[in-house]
Symmetry: C2
Subunit: 342 residues, 2 copies
């Protein structure tokens, strides 16, 4: 990206801000009226023409004003955006709206999504900690029918996963208890990732094992924990997005709803943000979110179990407002998870 001189930057910033506020194309006169650049509309037009040349602006048709392109927004976010900090009062308010004592993980996540959506007026997303990175706490087996077992797995953070597996031989409940006791002793404190490694190694070593119990335990737990569980995504406030003028036409609405329905695109993005530090902003169609942006941040506790949360809004959303909300919420959630696991 070629460098912009100060004047161009100012004008670009003005256009982006006005467009964020109004959702309408911004014209040269409107800018000189609303901002104090000591420039005539004609000069502004010249600058605008340059910015259009560079791909930062575009006009929907000849006699309309300009709107920022994705690239324009990207530039704005990268170099012009100033994120304001939350005031202590706002922080306090935010902290107060989060009351999670006695709630189970799923409910907490759902509630966080709702609050994010309520604060931002856009859609709130929360992705629960990825299975493989959670820390093993406890495993239980329940015999459902002949050869069919329900496995219940609990992580350090109190996240519960369950799964049905089939065993080739029938095992009664007493034996299952012994097996789970054994596994709980052996595997506590490891991440699922580590657990898998350990199981694989042991199974190779002890193919011809005498200890029947241990053998069964190994094969059962291997079956239970081997494959990846889909990430769980909570979405709240989709209908708020529909209020935004850019989604007022039926086709755009449909598109948006489909995006939220499939969840895949959103999960992929949150996954990406999970491994990064701090707040991340994803813009527009290069991430399959035509017309939208995602502001996200990961959360984690001391033990490292991680997830991600964020807000999806129109590309034209008020970043300076939403970024600190997402940031602070992620910190709050991290703290809550820490407390849960203490």
């Amino acid at each position: 990206m070629a460098e912009l001189n100060e004047r161009s930057q100012n004008i670009l910033e003005a256009i982006v801000k006005d467009y964020i506020a109004s959702a309408e194309p911004v014209g040269s006169r409107a800018i000189t009226r609303r901002h104090d650049f000591n420039l005539s509309p004609a000069s502004v037009r010249n600058v605008m023409a340059d910015l259009e040349e560079m791909g930062l602006l575009c006009s929907p048709h000849t006699s309309a004003g300009r709107i920022p392109t994705e690239k324009g927004f990207q530039y704005y976010i990268d170099t012009l955006l100033q994120v304001r900090d939350l005031s202590d009062k706002e922080k306090k308010q935010l902290r107060n709206s989060y009351r999670f004592s006695g709630m189970k993980m799923e409910d907490i996540m759902q509630e966080v999504g709702r609050i994010l959506s309520g604060l931002s007026k856009y859609a709130g997303l929360v992705m629960v900690p990825k299975f493989a990175s959670t820390v093993f706490r406890q495993i239980e087996f329940v015999r459902l029918s002949h050869g069919r077992l329900l496995v219940i797995y609990v992580s350090e953070t109190g996240l519960v996963q369950n799964k049905v597996i089939s065993a080739d031989v029938d095992i009664d409940q007493r034996q299952l208890e012994k097996i789970s006791n054994y596994l709980n002793r052996e595997l506590g404190g490891l991440t699922i990732h580590q657990v898998r490694e350990k199981l694989k190694k042991e199974m190779q070593e002890e193919m011809s094992l005498y200890d029947q119990l241990r053998k069964k335990a190994l094969s059962l737990s291997f079956a239970a924990l081997q494959d990846e569980v889909e990430d769980q995504l909570f979405v709240a406030g989709t209908s708020l997005m529909l209020e935004q003028p850019e989604f007022s036409s039926p086709e755009q609405m449909r598109r948006l709803i489909q995006t939220f329905e499939s969840k895949k695109i959103l999960i992929d993005l949150l996954d990406r943000s999970q491994s990064a530090q701090g707040v991340q902003i994803f813009i527009g169609s290069d991430v399959d979110l035509k017309g939208c942006s995602l502001i996200s941040a990961n959360f984690s506790n001391r033990k490292g179990a991680i997830g991600a949360l964020g807000v999806v809004g129109p590309m034209r959303m008020d970043y300076s407002q939403v970024v600190p909300i997402v940031d602070f919420t992620a910190q709050l959630v991290s703290r809550v998870l820490d407390r849960e696991a203490e």
Copy 2:
């Protein structure tokens, strides 16, 4: 409802069917053209005027055709609708699309919703068995932190619920195991409803109990099972609904999405249908579904754990097509649940 003579019935039926097919107001000429009543348009008009008088039809404006009112649809469904049975071939196809072996409850429900939606081209709903009516199989406690316990409850059908409770005293994991063993022995085979009764009675009788273990077990399980868990609802295919012409305008879309988002209305209706026998049809705004209908049926296994599933579509949906699909799917799901619990 006053009785209609045969001619009026025929014409009403023709109008409803044509409207279902086209989503457009139906005029008198169109009817004489498409159906063979040996009547002139003028005669049909007279009948239509009568039907409008009775509140079964209405016209959006003076020179448009007529469309059925909610009352009209209701009449059609109650007395004119002939539900065709599925052919053996279709049944077989349906059976083949359901492959649930080795899936856990939640995933099965989600999949059923998707298939319902795919078959009907409308939105598919599945509500998992109501908590209070499930049959107790097993309970486990996991100590999360000082005084905070995670309770995991498994029903006969393999449905897993979990909840965080706080105990006034700290209890170690060994003791928790004993407690859960005790409870599993005592409560197996009862419905949650029955369990609650039993616990209440025992707690009253044994306020001054010497057996500390039993006392703790009672109070813990009481805390764990006392309050009602929200019903869980799976929705699939909302975006298919948006394809329907009646939801093409932005406001109607927004409304529809909000209905699906809040879930409450849908849960209430499925709840109602849960206690009824066979297929139920809910129509329009007297059940807070403006412009929509819900076709639902409950499913159950021999042990009585029940839930409900259904399809939400525009009021103008093809009932003769969708009713048998919902019906047969409910039967299939019931059979699957039976097999799970065997």
